[in-house]
Assembly symmetry: C2
Homo-oligomer: 107 residues x 2
DNA sequence: CAAACCGGTTTGCAATACAAACCACACTGC
DNA sequence: GCAGTGTGGTTTGTATTGCAAACCGGTTTG
């Protein structure tokens, strides 16, 4: 029944659903670890924006942030936690379900 | 290059991206026309919430709303406009691209 | 030592998702 | 006929947000 699929659409992890964070998590899922500036370049986000999204992901326990020094310049290294990895995979399932719902029963 | 796909993620129609509205539009895409209460039952949204989302979709020109009377009881009939249909299909493309991006290059 | 740059964080604000309150009208019991 | 209940919504209030601009501690450059 389509009603079920429709309800599932509403049940989405909004933390991952936000496009900026989805982009961040997609990168982190594939590269395993990335520093702040790499993420900034890849996503095209402003640094303020990127910073606050990373903080949110860290607060949710989806991303681990490690601050080190590379010689004298600070370096912020981000990686997905297990929970983040799980959340990302769940979101991927949501995407697949959404595709299915949007494609079934079209005239 | 993955950078391109990542940027595309950020370029999404937020009007459709919102889960509640995606659910509404998905229904309207398949059934062609639906009244307020049918949408309410199918989505499980509260009427206030449904009303405001419909208003927004109407404001964007994605949904046409026609108010009639069925005997003495008011009836609000909603249907996707051509623009709405286009926006929906574009969003479906976004979904496909997102799936692709989230699945490529995983280790 | 002043100015500019680097790598971010915090602040301020406009937009928005949601439910509760509200509203107009129809019907029902008394 | 008029209190009370139901129907079919809209409007209001609020807490959360995404975003960029302003800021900040340190470093390099002139």
């Amino acid at each position: 029944m389509a009603g079920e699929d429709i309800r599932n659409m509403l049940d989405v992890d909004r933390l991952v659903h936000e496009p900026a964070r989805l982009a961040i998590m997609t990168i982190l899922y594939t590269v395993e670890a990335a520093d702040f500036l790499f993420l900034k370049r890849q996503t095209g986000l402003t640094k303020g924006n990127l910073s606050s999204h990373l903080s949110r992901l860290e607060g949710a326990g989806y991303v681990a942030i490690e601050k080190t020094f590379e010689g004298k310049i600070p370096r912020t290294i981000c990686r997905l936690t297990d929970a983040g990895r799980k959340a990302f995979e769940d979101y991927r399932d949501w995407l697949k379900n959404a595709i299915k719902s949007t494609e079934s029963k079209q005239k």
